[in-house]
């Protein structure tokens, strides 16, 4: 989430496009510099799995290199991969996509999001996004020429956006609703009832729904609702997902978009002029991930779940109240009781106790008062980090208490 203040305007001398020049840098850039200056930090500020990609998947990637699969694939991606994905989505969520026309393989879900926004947005179109949200959402909308419209969410609703709050922000310019549940940074998941209400809204106002479901497999004691599987939603939903979080494949850059062919055709146009195709080795690894990866995914999910329960319980114990995040690998505790704002808290915690968390403000104005703590790190790390945070919170509690 960009800061509200525009970036330095010095660069606005026509060399850099005005859109980019005025696009605020991500809210954590300053923090990153600070972080690299402190040694022996326990980082809870990472947004990726700590597991290395399961060996059988890595092995498939290596095998593809050995066999010399080093050329381009078709623009849309390898037919086998699209076929596997179609079966996967059908089997897991009961939504069927034609592997040839309705699935596009992208270099990570990030590329998918960029393609989607560029493909649908006319200058000035509005895209409704919950606040706080993943940092790239508003920025990508702006880069595509659109206007991000933030809808506040809060801890009373466990950071799930309400249909009524969305409806209040719909204008003639509204083109789409962009959602990412399970959510980064909050760990919130959307229930069937909440999703149904939003689906009805999208139908009522004839809006597109862009659903980033990259964390779909990381849910704990909750069912993931796949938006296109809701009645009547497939034709107006653009599903974005990938393998980064589920199969611990962040560095491979592999994702996909599944949607009605009128969308995938448009997306493919941009994709073929920009990326040509997702990396071949990576696509072959992804095929292996879909064919034989479920066991490893389950193991990782179990492990995340243990850490999640541990972290959430400890956060609440040390006086940083935290709603139960049922998805992704983030906890989003409130730090309001400390009297600090989120940047202050993160900075002091880093300098005084060498624990890194991400200030909630980085994810939008509604993230203020919270910090993002990632539990995709070893249990001993989490234990030690929380011991330090406990000390920090006790030390910094306002005297008035």
């Amino acid at each position: 989430m960009p800061n509200t203040k525009p970036a330095a305007t010095k660069a606005r001398d026509n060399v850099i496009s005005q859109t980019v020049a005025t696009l605020p840098p991500s809210g954590i850039r300053k923090f990153f510099g600070l972080l690299s200056s402190v040694e022996d930090v326990i980082s809870l500020s990472i947004g990726e799995p700590d597991f290395v990609t399961p060996w059988h998947i890595r092995e498939a990637g290596i095998y593809s290199l050995e066999k010399g699969y080093t050329m381009y694939t078709s623009n849309s991606g390898m037919p086998e991969l699209r076929q596997e994905l179609a079966s996967y989505l059908e089997l897991r969520y009961g939504v069927s996509y034609h592997p040839e026309y309705e699935i596009l393989i992208t270099a990570g879900s990030s590329e998918g999001l960029d393609l989607v926004l560029r493909a649908i947005i006319n200058t000035g179109d509005e895209v409704i996004i919950p606040d706080p949200c993943y940092v790239a959402y508003p920025a990508d909308v702006i880069l595509a020429g659109g206007a991000p419209i933030l809808v506040p969410t809060n801890e009373e609703n466990n950071f799930v956006v309400r249909a009524t709050d969305i409806e209040a922000r719909i204008t003639k310019q509204t083109k789409a609703i962009l959602l990412g549940y399970p959510a980064n940074p909050t760990g919130a998941v959307m229930s069937k009832k909440e999703a149904d209400a939003i689906a009805e809204l999208a139908k009522k106002h004839d809006l597109l729904l862009i659903s980033d479901e990259i964390y779909a497999r990381l849910v704990y004691g909750a069912e993931h609702i796949c938006f296109p599987s809701l009645p009547g939603m497939k034709k107006r939903t653009i599903l974005i997902s990938g393998f980064s979080k589920s199969h611990a494949m962040t560095g491979w850059r592999i994702g996909y978009v599944a949607a009605d062919r009128r969308f995938t055709q448009a997306l493919t146009k941009i994709h073929q002029y920009t990326l040509l195709c997702a990396p071949t080795m990576t696509q072959m690894a992804a095929i292996e991930a879909l064919r034989n990866g479920d066991g490893e995914v389950e193991k990782m999910v179990q492990e995340y779940n243990r850490r999640r329960r541990f972290m959430v319980k400890r956060l609440n114990e040390i006086g940083l109240p935290c709603f139960e995040p049922k998805g992704a690998f983030f906890a989003f505790p409130s730090i309001k009781a400390t009297g600090m704002n989120s940047e202050e808290f993160a900075e002091k915690l880093l300098l005084e106790e060498k624990v890194a968390v991400v200030p909630g403000l980085a994810f939008g104005p509604c993230g203020e008062g919270f910090v993002r703590c990632c539990y995709a790190t070893s249990l001993p790390n989490i234990e030690e980090a929380l011991r330090r945070m406990d000390r920090f919170v006790r030390k910094s509690r306002p005297r008035s208490e």
């Binding site: 991500s26 990153f32 972080l35 500020s45 990726e48 993943y134 243990r306 541990f310 890194a356 234990e383």
Partner: protein
């Protein structure tokens, strides 16, 4: 319940309180389950995995294939028992295939293992033949990989 044992299998020193949090059960219930498991032999023992070569002390190990004559009524059990009682035998299995028992034997040196085979194992009445394979290098044991380079942090300190 299975999850409690999986956690302990990974880290025998996990405390009941920690486990209780991770599996979302009361501490008392976890304690009870562990106690019961210790009693009924579900949990046999708590051990540390020691990287002996690091201390410059490494046992010599050998895999021994043993062909035996099974016995009426008791099959392989009787002869297996006579063999696995030897303290040199670290693990013992009945296996399918061209031989009957697979033993993992440990000794301080090659001499110790040789004498175990020639003086104790081979002379047993029902042992027909043995083939001894000395272990040259350990890569992985009980799911733990040896000789791993010290884990480096491959991740960036902060990502969104």
């Amino acid at each position: 319940m299975k999850e409690i044992f999986k956690i302990l299998e990974q880290n025998a020193r996990a405390t009941p309180a920690q486990i209780a949090t991770m599996v979302d059960k009361p501490v008392s219930a976890v304690k009870k389950i562990i106690k019961q498991a210790e009693k009924d032999g579900t949990i046999l023992k708590y051990k540390a995995i020691i990287n002996w070569p690091k201390l410059g002390k490494e046992d010599i190990q050998a895999l021994i294939e043993v062909r035996v004559t099974p016995q009426r009524d008791v099959g392989f059990d009787a002869i297996a028992e006579r063999i696995y009682q030897f303290p040199e035998v670290y693990s013992a299995y009945v296996v399918s295939g061209t031989y009957d028992l697979a033993l993992l034997v440990k000794g301080k040196n090659m001499q110790e293992i040789s004498s175990f085979v020639t003086e104790k194992l081979a002379p047993l009445e029902r042992v027909q033949s043995t083939v001894t394979h000395f272990l040259l290098k350990r890569y992985k044991e009980n799911g733990e990989i040896f000789h791993l380079p010290k884990e480096t942090n491959r991740r960036l300190p902060i990502t969104l």
